[in-house]
Amino acid sequence: MSPTQHDVGPETVVLGIETSCDETAAAVVLGGRDIISSVVSSQIDMHAEFGGVVPEVASRAHLESMNPVVRKALADAAIEPTRVDAVACTVGPGLIGALLVGVSSAKALSLAWNVPFVGVNHLEAHLYAGFLEDELLEFPLVVLLVSGGHTMIVEMRDHGDYSLLGSTIDDAAGEAFDKVARFLDLGYPGGPAIDRAATQGDPDAIRFPRAMMDDGLNFSFSGLKTSVMNHVRRHPDVDSLDVAASFQQAVVDVLVHKTFRAAREVGATGVVLGGGVAANSLLRSEMTAAGRSAGIRVSLPGREMCTDNAAMIGAAGWHRLRTVGASPLDIGAFPSMPLVTSGGHPDE
């Protein structure tokens, strides 16, 4: 059977696997849309599973979590492996050692079950997270993907048809949240810590710079981070809550401003948020408000779909299987895989 001859429809069940960075994840997705189960290693008690190793970026941690996570995804979905029609897995971008654990496991399952293997771009999968929770989305869309590792604005014209409109030239927004929280001793993880502290601070107390505000669709957050540190060093008595609130306001102002400028420029009917920073409450409320005044639909996926997960891999895998077909079993992993249109992998 040639790769494109697979019957892909609403009854097609895809097992998604994700190991590109911090999380080992597996999910069962029906018809590219319905999440039957979704398991992320940090959510389950791995201590009970195999005695105390907390999964992190290390590839051996992924290796130890892989089988328990896949088993739990199948058990939660209450399906037999024979019901799985394809196995989709992140092939990049990410850490090479971590990626290879998922890719090898997915290929092994695909061979053992005699079903297609589908290599998925992690960034492309984030674009699909919005579709899993909002059935009314219509193209063209603008997606703001904002996490610890990435900050990008993507135009999505159709399935598999994207353009990168802008991205960070230095630090990702989530990294700035994390480092500022650590600098202010607000705790870890930094995103939720700043979010909490900011509710008690004055967002107008300090006017931090909004870098590149009217300068294209790229972002820069490195200078903001330095500016916060310099301000605190110069004013040791400053209220950390005011610093947190003012910093958060500066980040959100830039993200909202550029996302909606992009949406207007490409005539988008909807705006979708993705990535861990999409859980930030100020970003969510200001995106919603900006959407209302611009008459553009704003889709805010829940936290589980914003952060790294395998349901989005299953959904993106379903779409890729339908439009491009299965991936050859001899493809590898691509640590610096870019977000490219129509899903061509670097060696295809």
Binding site: S59, T168, D170, E175, D178, S222, K225, S336
Partner: protein, 157 residues
């Protein structure tokens, strides 16, 4: 050897100068507090090795891989890794063999690589843009080039 940087651009100039001495297999470890200039150094270093896309922070992605004009350039950041087993898993020595490796929060990589150039950034609390940068060669690989390195740093100072 010591280099006093008065401005981020001076830190970038130092990185570009050091990049002219680089060979395949080299490792540069950057150490210093947040905001002390490690990323500025890494960006200028990578650009001088022919990387033409934006060099972004690898804090969350851990290792970013770029095509340089002669070899791949690996830009790593060990800030989030607090256990030696995690650093060992990155196989940094294997990456370095394929091209040039530059590591932020590089102290955690001491045991993982053989020879390296250690670049230590010290901020002056009294002056926001001034950095004392201490450069030292570790291992035969870099020691052979120490005279040329000293000459370059003198020229910049």
């Amino acid at each position: 050897m010591l280099y006093r940087s008065h401005h981020p651009q001076a830190t970038a100039d130092l990185a570009s100068a050091i990049a002219t001495l680089v060979r395949k297999g080299d490792v540069v470890l950057l150490m210093g507090d947040m905001g002390s200039g490690k990323t500025v150094f890494a960006q200028a270093f990578a650009r001088s090795l022919g990387v033409d896309e934006p060099v972004t922070s690898p804090t969350f992605t851990i290792v970013n891989t770029y095509s340089g004009s002669r070899w791949p350039v690996f830009h790593a950041d060990l800030y989030r890794l607090d256990r030696r087993v995690e650093v060992a898993d990155l196989a940094l020595a294997e990456l370095a063999e394929q091209g040039v490796l530059i590591v932020e929060w590089g102290e955690a990589a001491f045991d993982e690589v053989d020879g390296h150039l250690a670049v230590n950034f010290d901020s002056d609390p009294e002056a926001e843009t001034i950095r004392e940068i201490d450069i030292s060669a570790v291992g035969q690989h870099w020691l052979q080039r120490v005279d040329r390195l000293e000459a370059l740093v003198r020229e910049l100072s």
